[in-house]
């Protein structure tokens, strides 16, 4: 009988080691030692503690979370207005110490947020290091409440502040420092560069996105309101994954930050979501919304799925694939204008719902036709007119029915950059422009 290979799942993000790459993000699931210990019993590789601040602790409001359901899917997007920990610092420090004592092999990272003063940062860094944490995560991302008080995203949105506070922390830090970035900026590369310049050992991203969950059209009151009034919150969950992936890839590929360790966060629910972040350069990943939906147990599925995939792909350790797909994320001007795909509809599996027909005909390039004359409901692609936009395959409900097939054009690759350099010459028409 063939011996099954046992992939090594151990992860190292900026020198913070964990037996697997799955960490709980700094959020309600890591609010207390009891929760973190229970999570570790289920197998989580690490936990970033719910952000610690100065005493006296903050006060939270009641009514804190909101969600967006899509069709039958609960919590496609999630929103919160909860602040950092509302428990005394001393309590959290004692519990961090207890967790580390019992689970020495797991990563316990302290998320921190105090005012932008050197002494305040020095003080809290010393305290959490004494408690035994394995790393620090500077919360420069929280977009609600704390930002109004000059912390969280208010720091993350100003690269100079990012650099300054990172430097404060690095003056005292004995453990690796991750800077958690906010996506609520025009270009995430600037704060990432600033973090690196300030001496950060790595970055973690994304924090939540500014959001408002809606207004009840019957009562005219904002949804998930606090006594009739709502404040904007931070958006996360499956819906934000593409936004997070883009930012991770941007930092992985940026000339200034290339090689800076990344802890990937944003809408991860399954093993394959996690792998996507790692393929684009994340050394490990952090989860929250999926855990808040289903509990700590999901780590078992994450681990099993990752291990099975690595076995199928022949990867023995995470570094075999971390960042493997990042070089394939390029600027638009480097895409091949001579690449051509066209849609094809599988007559066998087509059910004749016309979703592709109406989408193509009304909104894109009018290259799907239906010939009703002989009682034929099934549409076909007018291949010569197809621009290969994918829309039909995206709206098709039948998996595998519409495929996008590469067409050999016989033309040498040509990018926009080269095309411009050639004086706009040398483009062979790969699709018909009306």
């Amino acid at each position: 009988m063939k011996t099954r290979t046992k992939p090594d799942l151990s992860a190292d993000c900026a020198g913070i080691k964990s037996p697997n790459p799955f960490w709980l993000a700094s959020a309600p699931p890591t609010n207390s030692g009891a929760q973190v210990m229970r999570a570790f019993e289920y197998g989580w590789g690490g936990a970033v503690w719910k952000t610690l601040g100065q005493d006296p602790p903050v006060v939270n409001v009641t009514s804190r979370y909101g969600a967006m359901d899509l069709g039958g899917t609960k919590i496609a997007g999630f929103n919160n207005i909860e602040l950092i920990t509302d428990r005394p610092l001393e309590t959290n420090l004692r519990e961090i110490y207890e967790v580390k004592k019992r689970f020495g092999d797991r990563a316990v990272v302290a998320s921190l947020m105090v005012p932008c003063e050197r002494a305040a940062w020095h003080d809290i860094v010393k305290k959490v290091q004494d408690a035994g944490c394995d790393g620090l995560e500077l919360n420069f991302g929280c977009p609600h409440g704390m930002s109004e008080r000059g912390m969280g995203a208010a720091v993350g949105q100003v690269p100079d502040y990012v650099k300054m506070v990172t430097e404060f922390v690095k003056e005292k830090a004995k453990v690796p420092v991750l800077v958690k970035l906010t996506p609520n900026v025009a270009d995430v590369r600037f704060p990432a560069r600033a973090a690196k310049a300030g001496g950060a050992d790595g970055v973690s991203l994304i924090n939540t996105i500014n959001s408002l969950m809606g207004v009840d059209v019957e009562t005219l009151v904002p949804k998930f309101a606090v006594g009739g009034k709502a404040a904007h919150g931070g958006y996360c969950g499956p819906a934000v994954k593409p936004i997070a992936l883009n930012m991770v890839a941007q930092i992985a590929n940026d000339g200034e930050t290339r090689g800076l360790p990344i802890s990937g966060i944003g809408g991860i629910s399954t093993w394959s979501d996690a792998i996507e972040f790692m393929l684009l350069g994340a050394a490990n990943v952090q989860l929250c919304t999926a855990v808040m939906h289903h509990g700590f147990r999901i780590v078992e599925d994450l681990e099993a799925g990752l291990r099975g995939w690595m076995r199928r792909k022949g990867f023995a350790k995470l570094s075999d694939f971390v960042g493997r797909s990042a070089p394939d994320i390029v600027e638009w001007k480097h895409l091949n204008l001579h690449h051509k795909t066209v849609a094809s509809i599988d007559k066998e599996s087509c059910i004749g719902c016309d979703a592709c027909y109406v989408a193509c005909n009304d909104t894109t390039h009018q290259c799907i036709a239906v010939d009703r004359r002989r009682g034929n409901r099934k549409p076909h692609v007018v291949t010569d007119d197809c621009v290969g936009c994918n829309l039909c395959s995206l709206v098709c409900p039948v998996e595998g029915c519409i495929t996008m097939t590469e067409v050999e054009t016989g033309l040498k690759p040509l990018t926009w950059e080269q095309y411009v350099k050639n004086g706009l010459k040398g483009y062979g028409e790969v699709y018909r422009r009306h």
């Binding site: 207390s32 009891a34 599925d301």
Partner: protein, 465 residues
Amino acid sequence: MAAEAKRVWRDNFSELKKPLGREEARVEASRCLYCYDAPCVAACPTHIDVPRFIRQIASADVLGAGETILEANALGHSCARVCPVEVLCEGACVYHDWQEKPISIARLQRRATDAVHADGELPFEPGPDNGRRVAIVGAGPAGAACAAYLRRLGYAATIFDRRPLPGGLNTYGVAEYKMDRRTSLEELRLLFRLGVGVKSGVEVDGTLAVRLLKDFDAVFLAVGLARARRLGVPGEDLPGVVDALAFIARVKARDPKVVGASAATVVIGGGNTAIDAAAQSARTGTPSVTLAYRRGREKMSAYDFEVALAKGDGVRVLTDLAPRRVLGRRKVEGVEFVRTRAVGGKLVADKRPVVVACDRVIVAIGQEKDRSVAGLFGAALNADGTIRVDPATLRTTAAKVFAGGDAVNGGKEVVNAAADGKRAAWSIHKTLRPDAVPDAANAYWVSTIDGRVVAPIVARGGTSS
């Protein structure tokens, strides 16, 4: 005739529960609510983590789902087809409380185990050889499951079985339209690649028993039940009277002579085997099939959905009829019944006979207990003929002899036998090595023997241990 037989096998004996299509599977898997302390897990005798494997299917980790299933139930591939899920996992689904259709757990399970079989590789391997040997008597679901888990613990496992093919009732007794023989054999072929030795065609007698007790460190008795119970009425030995299991075994062997063999069949009995026999008689081309049961419909042990299936096949179900004799001179010509009614729990027979003409009688009133095998190993029986065991450990009254499956429970489902095999494997290990704790490779399946303990809800500020 050969062409007719071919048509019958193709049209009437393809599997009743079809595999899920891709879209069906996607929609069905995403419907699962992923309950925490899930009632479906509790309802499964092998405690498969159903929500977990369904979530794995939903996240496109179908092989991972197969691993979750086969860890808890080595016979998960056949159980996906033969389990009466309506009264087990699917019957427990929380959707019932919502007046909605329960999750199609069996068909999702089948999707996962089919993928494992298509992949051709078991999700686990044998443990390092520990130098000890266990003999297993009976290659049915209990014996096969026990052998598989023993191999994972590093034991040499040898199964002795009296039939030519392994699988017991999975291979010889499960209605062919629920699971064909090929599927049962494929399941075992993959499972036995763990390194299970199988000695087929071996009848266990006193000499062999002595040798097994001497040569092996432990023995697991998974002998099932013995021969079919007889009616005890005149005419029972006429040609044309067959017992249900012998009839089903012929169907499962796809004996062409069974097709069109009878113009009118009477099946006697009220259990699921009687239903299986009646439906398979109809499906092999018997135009008139009558099932007769001596008590009322409510006393029939056959599940409602099984009775509905037989009726759909055109089987006429008659109740409150007790057979008085089988009619016929040289061969069966009919059955004479008397009408019965229950008076104070006892059956009272009418005087007037009711005759149902037929050319074949299938007797399906249960199997007798095998009262001989346990004794050969020094194990005592209960008064009802089942082997006496401690339910927690499946130890018999004889040293190093364990027992499980139908021989112990008197005749239950495949999944009960598979659960016993798993329990026995760990119990044998704990008996031979009392200080054993499950290592990483075995911890998960061992945790499913009594069901995983769901983490307690702890008060805020408390710790969970």
